[in-house]
Amino acid sequence: MSDVMHHVPQQILWAHAAGALPYGFSVVVATHVSLCDACRAGLEAEEAVGGAVLDQLAPAALGPDLRARTLARLDDAIGEPAPPARSGIFPGPLVQALGGHPPRWRHLGGGIRQQILSADSEGSLRLLFIPPGTAVPEHGHRGLEMTQVLQGSFSDATGRFGVGDVQIADPDLDHIPTADPGQPCICLAATDAPLRFRSLLPRLLQPLFRI
């Protein structure tokens, strides 16, 4: 997809290649890479470094029969599952995170819907459905937030984000993302800390909806 305007920073691709990203961010990166050839190339470059590091590592001693035991198992008929395929607007890694099911939306009010895909001490990952022209309540971030657009587009003070684009929001950004007119905006959002809402009602509802 050549019209991706907002990419994953190289530092985050590096952390993903090193396996250091929390689950939610790693799903966003894998989803973005499935839509963006430039970031795929960036990720593969980082993995090339991983390969060079592996190659230069001092070997550890193996158990004496490990080689024979491994060669004896080559005929075992355990198939490796194929990487999950795309389904509609949802790239393979997201289909995988959804467990192969279509989203099960829950209403958040104001026409906004979401499905939580994971929420734990590492952070959260959720799908959001925002009707055209609707704003997400103004919020800031305690940590990092990554939002990948899958359908439609949204805009905030920092710009416009369309299909394929990813927005990286850090603790300095307070924003009111608003879905543009046209199609409902569907995006995948990951955080490594709860959001901070400016007004009371969303704050009260926050524990309930785990956003």
Partner: protein, 222 residues
């Protein structure tokens, strides 16, 4: 530094012209399937062995890959915090996955070591998490009908440069990069690192891979 002007990894940004080799291959590909194994001499030893595993199910080639990678994979898992027994089990699992997933290996986009590192990284992450790590979608494979020795050679040469650049780093820098890839740094620790000294080599590899993709796309779209 040797410049490879005709290669997809040449580092100056030029208009995206398909390389003559690619254009020729694409023309052939429309009429008849090409032979799938690219010229072996353009590949690194380990990449050649992995292609033999992929195309010929060559057990001797697999055994040689095992001898090189299994002890290093175990070392990687030990550094990543696994105990001796588990580290050895995971090293074995990774090697078995190499055998089973070999049909997915594409030497245009990765050297054997990078591809095996990716599998090992996923297995390591798996050890610490309930959920399997997300896998990017496969690219539409083009290895069946469009082998491009020039691309594979260029990637191999960049990886040689990358190794040299890693070897030339001072102790602290080398240690930091190693720690990151071996699972000893958190995301926060990695994001604090800036001005990584091997950035230039990395961006050249990135640019080459990106360009290849554009060239192939351009050739496919009428």
């Amino acid at each position: 530094m040797v410049m490879m002007t005709a290669s997809p990894f040449a580092c100056a940004i030029e208009p995206r012209q398909p390389s003559p080799a690619l254009a020729l291959l694409a023309r052939f590909a429309q009429d008849a399937p090409m032979q799938r194994v690219p010229e072996p001499s353009s590949m690194s030893d380990h990449t050649r062995l992995l292609v033999a595993v992929r195309d010929l199910r060559d057990r001797a080639a697999f055994a040689r890959l095992f001898d090189h990678f299994a002890p290093r994979l175990k070392a990687m898992m030990l550094r990543g915090g696994l105990g001796d027994g588990v580290a050895e089990d995971v090293a074995q699992e990774v090697m078995l996955a190499v055998w089973r997933k070999a049909h997915l290996f594409d030497p245009h986009r990765a050297e054997a070591s990078a591809w095996i590192y990716g599998i090992a990284r996923n297995r390591r992450v798996d050890q610490f998490r309930r959920r399997p790590p997300p896998q990017p979608e496969m690219l539409e494979p083009y290895r069946d009908d469009e082998p491009d020795p020039a691309q594979i050679l260029a990637l191999g040469q960049e990886v040689v440069r990358l190794r040299a650049a890693l070897a030339a780093l001072n102790g602290d820098q080398a240690q930091m990069i190693e720690k990151a890839y071996l699972g000893e740094l958190t995301h926060a620790e990695i994001s604090k690192q800036s001005g990584v000294p091997i950035g230039t080599v990395k961006s050249r590899i990135r640019l080459g891979l990106e360009r290849l993709r554009h060239e192939l796309k351009g050739l496919r779209e009428p």
